[in-house]
Symmetry: C2
Subunit: 408 residues, 2 copies
């Protein structure tokens, strides 16, 4: 048994037994989605076992599935926990069709043991099987993305809570996954604090603007963010095939006049558009357009729709950035309809009740899901004071992973 | 006019004129896709101008499109070249419907000048418009991905040519975009040479394995690559929402017995599966399954199909990695069909005529598109010699951008 597994689950098992090591670091004997139910019956049917637990759950487990999920040290690497078993190379696999694969099985309250025709033995923790019953979804550890209601305000977490040993970090990550926007308060006004926070979650996602960037007015900008002009609500880097997921913006100085920040939930705005103007929604979600950034060293371009939908027709990603829209390359008879749809979406983005407006204070860090939440700022006057933010990007995978690890 | 634009196009214009600056670094007066044709007529019709050139091309340009694409210093930032013009804030936009927006226009062989009702003047280079005629596609600068034929062998480029001033770098990038696999030969056996090559193209894509990783056998591995075991053909990090695009693997030492490398074109294999076993193809392309990596600090998981198709039904991405397939979470009556489909795909991957087999020599670097081309290696015996590769990932966006910049 791996020490990590023992730490997370086995040592704290309130049944006083040692659970079977399923090569799994997520807890399966207690906590979220685990069960106290006992395995009560196991019946062999055609090419499968039907298992039943004391809480009434019943599951059909194809023999193929059981063989493939064997977690013994030969089938899963004892250190990496990765699957070593190759079903393509196992002669047993030819015997599943004729029900000759399984030689014997036995079970008790907490385990199931299978002996295959070739002599290999597979043992399963009954609680692990209960969670993974075919047809039942494993309980997710991640919050569901929830559209902003009118006058939404983001959750706040203090920097002290975030770096402390309590649940501050989990609350911060959960709010970010749920709302796409969360504020960290009262952090130190130190250069690179944003990098330290990012790297405590995962590696910074580097782009053509570097791994960690400074947002301030500079003499020879290569993009609008590095000027003092106002920035209409937008998503960053929609000209990439995979725009950055999570953006962290840490405020170090903000005493110039202007420069207030604004945010809007692009998914919520897209749903409003769908309701108010279905044709505009259809046009923006079905029409790929070109986005492109060019400077002396780069020419980064992609063709994607403004509203990208998943297989179920729900918004999955918003690409909205008026600066780096490239030439609109469409047949002449579709151009005007596209512009009208674009204007309709943009008009909803401007509605005050759909926006969060705030002034970042030094020591605050705003974090948002750049594929969902648009951000912008008012113009500021660099002659009246300084405005300096440091920012970086993180992969959503790393944020989700972080929350899963925190919940072990 | 920006100096970069002047360098790329204007100074070399063989008409001896100064072209109109279209805030565009791609060449539009000569080279790939440019035209010598003269603008011969411009006719105003309902809400559009119809333009005709001396080579017979005719284009309908909606007035909205022309206004939105004005490239003057007020409409595009003179340094960043980004669009400043906001169509949502322009009162002129209400007048397009009634044909009152355009006050006057004039043209000559090489230019079109529009005066809008509000007095704003927009000038267009006629060659730029010719390239961007609605309904015509701008000539791509990138090669098309081409499936491997049987007994395909990758292109080779020498390290000297790659770092030299000739076309080695373009040939290398083109082969990688076209074939998904290209070999660099005779490079120095120096640590971090792979990082220098990567960073000459774009920032390294960091993952949970770091920005630049060492592939060799280590005592306490957290994944199979860091052992000496054989690695079946696979794609890296299919458990990420966005797996790394381009992988660079640079060989520093390879004198252990075994360790030969193999590669296969996943798109070509998917097409063979579609032809030989349409039902298996359907199952693998329509069934999202779980991929997951877990170690002490990570739990990175995603649910995606093995074969991901684009909107036109063509393979867009392959996720195949038997180690980090997670629990197969499907209704019981779909599990056996999924396994049969998976076995069918895997069997085609094993066919010798579909694989490239080679032994990496010190100083060679293999580069491949990890979303398309699977890679693997035979087991090696660390007691017979050393095997050490250094690797990193790059975003496909950066590779494409690099080739576009090289072709300016």
């Amino acid at each position: 048994m791996s020490s990590a597994n023992a730490f997370n689950d086995a040592l704290t098992d309130h049944h006083g037994e040692t659970p079977i090591d399923m090569a799994e670091l997520r807890r399966y004997r207690q906590g979220n989605g685990a069960t106290d139910a006992a395995l009560e019956s196991a019946v062999q049917e055609v090419r499968r076992l039907t298992l039943a637990w004391s809480d009434g759950r019943t599951g059909q487990f194809p023999l193929m599935w059981l063989r493939d999920h064997c977690a013994c040290d030969q089938c899963r690497h004892p250190l990496t926990r990765e699957r070593l078993y190759k079903l393509l190379d196992d002669p047993l696999w030819e015997r599943f069709a004729t029900d000759e694969a399984l030689a014997a099985f036995e079970f008790d309250d907490r385990s199931l043991t299978l002996t295959w025709q070739d002599g290999h033995v597979s043992r399963f923790d009954a609680g692990w099987l209960h969670q993974r019953c075919p047809g039942h979804e494993l309980t997710t550890l991640l919050p569901t993305a929830t559209p902003w209601v009118e006058a939404f305000t983001p959750a706040h977490v203090s920097h002290a809570d975030f770096v402390g040993n309590g649940d501050g970090r989990s609350r911060w990550a959960s709010a970010l996954l749920r709302d796409g926007l969360v504020m960290l308060d009262q952090g130190p006004c130190e250069l690179e604090e944003v990098s330290r926070i990012a790297e405590s979650i995962g590696p910074m996602r580097s782009t053509n603007f570097g791994g960690r960037f400074d947002v301030r007015s500079v003499p020879n900008p290569n993009n609008a963010a590095y000027t003092a002009i106002g920035l209409e609500l937008h998503t960053d880097l929609p000209n990439w095939r995979q725009p950055p997921d999570i953006q962290l913006l840490y405020c170090l100085e903000n005493d110039a006049e202007g420069g207030e920040s604004s945010f809007a939930d692009g998914f919520a705005v897209a749903e409003i558009l769908r309701e108010e103007n279905p044709e505009a929604f259809r046009v923006l979600s079905e029409t790929p357009i070109d986005f492109r950034f060019q400077d002396d060293g780069h020419d980064i371009a992609v063709r994607e729709p403004v509203i990208d939908l998943d297989g179920d027709g729900r918004p999955r990603e918003i690409r909205f950035n008026n600066w780096i829209r490239d030439t609109l390359s469409l047949p002449a008879d579709r151009i005007e309809a596209w512009y009208e749809a674009y204007r309709a979406f943009w008009q909803i983005l401007r509605r005050p009740e759909r926006r969060v407006e705030l002034t970042l204070e030094p020591g605050q860090m705003i974090a948002f899901d750049n594929r969902r939440v648009l951000h912008g700022r008012n113009a500021f006057d660099p002659n009246t004071g300084k405005r300096h933010l440091q920012g970086t990007y993180l992969d959503l995978d790393m944020l989700q992973s972080h929350l899963r690890v925190l919940s072990r």
